[in-house]
Structure formats: structure tokens, C-alpha cells
Symmetry: C2
Subunit: 416 residues, 2 copies
């Protein structure tokens, strides 16, 4: 059995490899093992053979927002460095679903649904990746071929104790919550994908770290050089508080209109903007560093925000759409649609949060809560640039909102 | 999903069913659930459909002794009651072995080895069972067909916590000894055999109880009426102390010569004889009860022992061989080969046991330990009727031996 790259002769690490490592490292949540990956890069350079970089995709929910593109961005960087990106569709487990019936969010999907979902996902991912250069695979190819014998042999490669190291398993076991046996097999199946694909690198969200490590170990067991693993953090949403998600209404959908998309990027805080640069921009490290320096030395950070907004709109629409969105934004800005100085107000949200009309009153934007509710009914209230129709909407302490009532009343509300 | 027989209309339990239950219950270690099985018998009587009684067989070690026939005997009783005996060859797992490589006693077997072992086992079992009426099946039939998808679906039917209730798993987990994941899948595969066979009853040794219960539960999960389970105790060996096994030299091989077999049965204690009646005899309960009563009222228990010895020799050889063995035994007895009264001696064995020559001296059978060793060398020492050649043999407190030195010196030695 191979002991991996550690015992192999060390190849020289040249400047271009160091630069590539810096690009790959940018924004990562974890990157194991960097020295190994440096050597993989060096070997790839020496042999001309691209590294195989795998991302698994769950074909159950194809509708993505820009938070989901963080890991795609990292893949694009690898693709631009000349490596082979593999898009792995997890159709095997999707077709099984959760047969214990405990997990209603995981019903079995038909072959047609899986293919349709994967195609939608790929079309969306195509805004970030060069699909022409992307290898698309379905794991049923080797998972079905395993058979019951192969699956038992696979299971023999891993101990229960090692699987129970996964945080959610450990927690459920400790709390005496049921763990169905098939759930313990899924990380092994996912790990076996890396064996079948002979992956050099697997990418995932930070919650995938354990599963990616299983792949690394199984490759060793099957006599392969172990993959490196790279996890990306979750993107913080527009509110600057919690991870971007549809349920939190703090997201940018990748199918959002150019003007919406542009405006939403413009609404984020300066601090969040630099995180987004790391995770969403494809600009090289030195360009971002230079921009940051300029802003630190007095340049208006809004310039940097405009550049980021244009890059994002260009990616999901076009350069022309980005120019249009910028013009529209500047136009609204000039016409006083959004004043350059917005009064900042702090409103106490209380332990249970505060309802929207009450918040508008406390912020001095309306005269009474009934006045506030009437403005909402008339479509005269916008939060983060979006019109609000739900009078029951509540906000919690820690949120920061840009609120417009009617044409002229603006406030940046800090909920405390 | 069926709730099992519990909610069905109760069928009348007639005397013949009660009698059958008494026969089936005899000698069992556990029998779950008796009320359910009574109803199964009643339904079988009403419909004329025999019950399906399953015994799994591990085709790794085909060479059996009469201890292994205890469970076959129970099957024979069921067969004589008109039910369907199913002999299940566990070829699926035997062909995989233990792929973790931890268990050297479980190397994978070739198809030829498995078939040969199963045939040997069946030929041996044929002394007890009516093979014409026995259904022989191989579990690879449905286990291979499961595929990786089916195995994952099967795994989803059971939780980790339930599997860890098995004593050896619980112990290893508590002691932080590794449990490879495939080991946890094997009880499920075995349980699935009962689903595939639609078993009404599964038999096994007392160590199999957990696995048999898994079958019961899985049948429920698959919407079948759950099987009843019946476990048989391990047969105590010739020494009356520990379970019969080759390594303890306290066994009767089913290929032993008639005279050997007869003599060995005659050497067991009266107490052990009645246990053996329960576990090895096919005589009806009332016949055994009557015999026991006669002995309690003064009949020589040796008569009962002769009857048991003849039944066993008849089973594994023939009625003629049993008659011959009896004649030979009586002949030796008449010629004083074994006196009707043997002196009983108690010899202290000490904490570390006692070596054979020393024991002979202490029992007054030889004049010195060197005299004892010389007698052993000359083949003049027999223990339980068998010639002894190993001078290093040691015995422990609690053992009871019939020892012969030369032609005339006999003693029943109690080691204390």
C-alpha cells in the first residue's frame, strides 16, 4: 500500500506554485494537507497531468443563491490554474432517499428528477465554471456496481468508532437519538466516490469536513495517494449577521434581476464586502490587496463595492447588464433616491424581536404603527431596497437595515 | 404493516397442539413467544400448511460432534410433527469472509469449498434429519440480488443503538475495541434471510439469540408475521463439567466407532444422562418420564443409559451396530473388564491441577509416579475407556474420571 506523497522525493516548489497555493488558500475554512497539495502541484507541473478536483453535488435542490457559488468559485480558480474539475452528481443516494422515512426532506427521487435537477444545477454553475472543461459524473456508475458484496467489503474498511467521531453522530449517540444504520454507510459511499474518481482534492462546505476525510482514508486503504481536502466557509448574508439563506431573506439569488443584484451588493457593510471579495471575486490576490490598501488610505469604499457588484452582475448576467445596473444605481443615487447621508437610528428589539410597523414608528419614519401598516399595504416601505408586503415581519436584535418609507424618508436602523 | 399474530383471532388450542408444544419446549434454552407459536401450530392444523422452521448453517467447519446435533434433534422433532425444515447455508458471508482481515478464522471460502463443506455437513445431519423432506437453500440467492441499494435499504430498518445491544458488540464498544462496520451488517443479513424465507420459527444455539431476534424484527418491518425463536443449550460433555468440544476432549464424534460411542455414553453420570435424554433422544416425553420414574423407584439407571447409548449408536450407525456394541460392552463387563462396583476415591487436585501419574499414585492405582508413567508408556492406562499416552496430562478439581490401570485396577476418581 502506498504511504502517500509524504515518503516520495520532494519536488522543488517554485514561485508559480507558491502563487497558486496563495490563490487556492484564499478564503478557505480548512485546507489539508497544504504541503501535500504543494507537492501535487509540483508533480502536476512536472508531468503536465492536471490534478483531479472533485465536488459532490446533491441533486435534490437545484435552485442556488450566490452563497452556494463560493465553492464553485474556488473550483473556477483551480480550473483557471489548469486543473481538472469533476462535478459529481450524487444520484445513487438521491435515488434511495432516506428509506427509514425519518427524513421527510429526503424522499427518493426518480431518474428524471435527478437528471433535471443536475442539469438545472449545472446550468446555474455554468455562470461560474467553464463547463466545457468540467467532467460531470454520476456516482451510481460505481455504487450500483459495488453490489451487496462490495458494500460489505467497503464497510469492513472503517470502524464504528471512527464514524462516531463525526460531530452529529456523536451528539445523537450521546443523546440516545436514533441513528439508522444506513446513515453510517453514506459517508463511506461518499468516500468511495473519491476512490473511484482517483481524486487529488475534494472540496466542500465546512460541514462536509468529516466526510471528505473519510474519502482521504479510504483512498489510502485502497492503495491510492490520499486526496487533499479543502473546505470553504458559509457566506454571510446581506445582513452581515448570519449565513446567507432563503429562509433568512438575506440572500442574492443567482437569477435575481441585474438592478436587484447590484443594489443588494451595494447594501452590504464595508467589512462584509472584503469577505465577499475573498469568497466571490475572481480577481487575483494582489489586485484585491491593492484595492484594500487604497481604501485604507482614503479612497471611498463605495468604489470597491461598485467593482464587486459589477463583477457579480457580469458573472450571472453580462457586462452590459452590469453597466446598466451601475448607471441605474447612480441615477437613483443622484436623484436622491438614496441620499449620500442616511440617518442612523438604534431601535430596541426586545427579546422576542420587534414587528415592522412598530420598528418604523420607533425609528421616527411613521407617526404610528397603524400609519406604518398602511404604508406597507400601499407598498411604500422598502427594506434593503426591496418592497415589503408582510405586516407580520419581525426583526431581531443585532440586525442592521436600510429602510425607506415613501420617496424621501430613509434610515439605517440598528436593532439592539 | 401487519401487527403480527397478536391481533389475529385466536384459534382453539387442542390437546394435540398442547402435546406438540411440550415436545418442542423440551430441553430448550429459550422459546419466544410460546403463545404465538401455539397459534401458528393451530393455524397450520387448520390450513394444513406446514410451518417453516429455519436453521442457518455456517459452511466453514463441517466436522460435527453429537453436541452439534442437539439443534438438529429439535428440527427432527418438528419434522416428525409435519413441519417444513429449512437448512440455510450461509454461503454469502462465507464467500466474503472477514475482509477487515482481523478475523483469521474467517478467510473467504471458494464456491467449491462452500459446496463441499455444506454437503459434508448435510451428510452428517442426515443421521438426524430426513433429508428428503428438508429444504436446502443458499442465502447468496437473495443476498446478492439485494445489491448495494437493497443493502442500504435493509440497513435503514435498524438503528445503531439496537445493534449495540448485542452483548459482544456492547462489550467491545465499551472497551474501545474496534468494531468494523461490516460486522454490524451481518446480523441484518442473517435477519433478512428470515424475511426471504418467510420463516415461522428460527432455531439456533443460545449464543444466537440476538441475531434471531433481529430476524423477528425485520420480518415485522417488511410486513410479515414475525418468526418465533427457539434456542437450544450447549450439550455438556462426557466429563459432566463443561460444554462438549474437541479441544476439551470430552466429546463423541458422530463418526466415532460404535463400540467407542456406546462406551462413552455408558461413562457419563446419571445426572448428565437425563439432560442428554432431553437433548439427544427422540423418544416421546411420556416415555422418558416413565423411565425416569422407574429409575427413581429402584430400576438400575444403567438400563436407561444402555437405551440411550443404543439410540445414539443406531442413529449414527445402525440398529445392528448398536446391538453389537451392547453385546461387546456386556461381554467386557462379564469378563470383569469393568466391575459392577468400582471403588470411588477423592484425590486433591490443588490449585494448579494434578499430573496424571501423581493422580494414579494418590488413588492407589500405582505404587509410585514413575510406576504410573511406565504404565502410561505401555498403554496400560485408560481414562473414560480411552487409552492415554500423554504423561503431561493434568486434571482439575471438579473433574470425575473412570480410570483403569492394567486389566483389573479400576477407580472412579473425584478430583477435589
Amino acid at each position: 500500500m502506498s504511504e502517500g506523497i509524504e515518503v516520495a522525493k520532494k519536488l522543488p516548489v517554485t514561485d508559480d506554485i507558491r502563487e497558486a497555493m496563495a490563490t487556492i488558500r484564499r478564503g478557505t475554512d480548512s485546507f489539508l494537507i497544504e504541503e501535500e497539495f504543494e507537492q501535487k502541484l509540483a508533480r502536476s507541473k512536472a508531468t503536465g497531468k492536471p490534478l483531479r478536483c472533485k465536488l459532490g453535488l446533491d441533486p435534490t435542490a437545484p435552485d442556488i443563491h450566490i452563497g452556494h457559488t463560493v465553492v464553485l468559485n474556488k473550483l473556477r480558480q483551480l480550473q483557471d490554474l489548469g486543473h481538472q474539475v469533476i462535478f459529481l452528481v450524487g444520484d445513487f443516494t438521491a435515488a434511495i432517499g432516506d428509506p427509514s422515512g425519518r427524513n421527510v426532506t429526503r424522499p427518493p427521487l426518480s431518474r428524471e428528477q435527478i437528471t433535471a435537477n443536475a442539469e438545472t444545477y449545472l446550468a446555474q454553475a455554468g455562470h461560474v465554471l467553464d463547463l466545457e472543461k468540467t467532467e460531470v459524473r454520476y456516482n451510481s456508475e460505481w455504487s450500483n456496481a459495488l453490489g451487496s458484496v462490495g458494500l460489505i467489503q467497503l464497510a469492513s474498511r472503517y470502524t464504528l468508532a471512527r464514524l462516531l467521531e463525526r460531530e452529529d453522530f456523536a451528539k445523537r449517540y450521546a443523546e440516545e437519538l436514533p441513528i439508522a444504520m444506513h446513515e453510517l454507510l453514506y459517508p463511506l459511499m461518499q468516500g468511495y466516490d473519491s476512490v473511484a474518481l482517483e481524486a487529488d482534492l475534494e472540496l466542500g462546505g465546512s460541514d462536509q469536513r468529516f466526510n471528505l476525510l473519510v474519502g482521504r482514508e479510504l483512498q489510502r486503504q485502497y492503495g491510492q495517494e490520499p486526496q487533499c481536502i479543502l473546505t470553504m466557509p458559509l457566506l454571510v448574508g446581506l445582513d452581515g449577521q448570519v449565513k446567507m439563506s432563503k429562509s433568512k431573506h438575506n440572500y442574492i439569488g443567482i437569477t435575481d434581476e441585474p438592478n436587484d443584484m447590484f443594489g443588494k451588493v451595494m447594501s452590504i457593510s464595508d467589512t462584509l464586502m472584503w469577505d465577499w471579495y475573498d469568497l466571490l471575486s475572481l480577481r487575483p490576490n494582489d489586485e484585491i490587496a491593492a484595492l484594500k490598501k487604497e481604501c485604507a488610505e482614503g479612497r471611498n469604499p463605495r468604489d470597491a463595492k461598485v467593482m464587486l457588484a459589477k463583477e457579480i452582475v457580469t458573472r450571472f448576467h453580462s457586462a452590459a447588464a452590469a453597466d446598466g445596473a451601475e448607471a441605474e444605481f447612480v441615477n437613483r443615487f443622484r436623484q436622491g433616491a438614496m441620499p449620500s447621508e442616511i440617518p442612523e437610528v438604534t431601535v430596541p428589539a426586545g427579546e422576542e424581536g420587534i414587528q415592522i410597523a412598530r420598528m418604523l414608528k420607533e425609528a421616527g419614519l411613521v407617526s404610528s404603527t397603524s400609519d406604518g401598516n398602511r404604508m406597507i399595504e400601499q407598498g411604500g416601505v422598502r427594506i434593503q431596497g426591496e418592497s415589503v408586503s408582510d405586516k407580520m415581519l419581525r426583526f431581531k436584535a443585532g440586525e442592521e437595515l436600510i429602510v425607506q418609507v415613501g420617496k424621501r424618508k430613509w434610515a439605517k436602523i440598528h436593532l439592539a
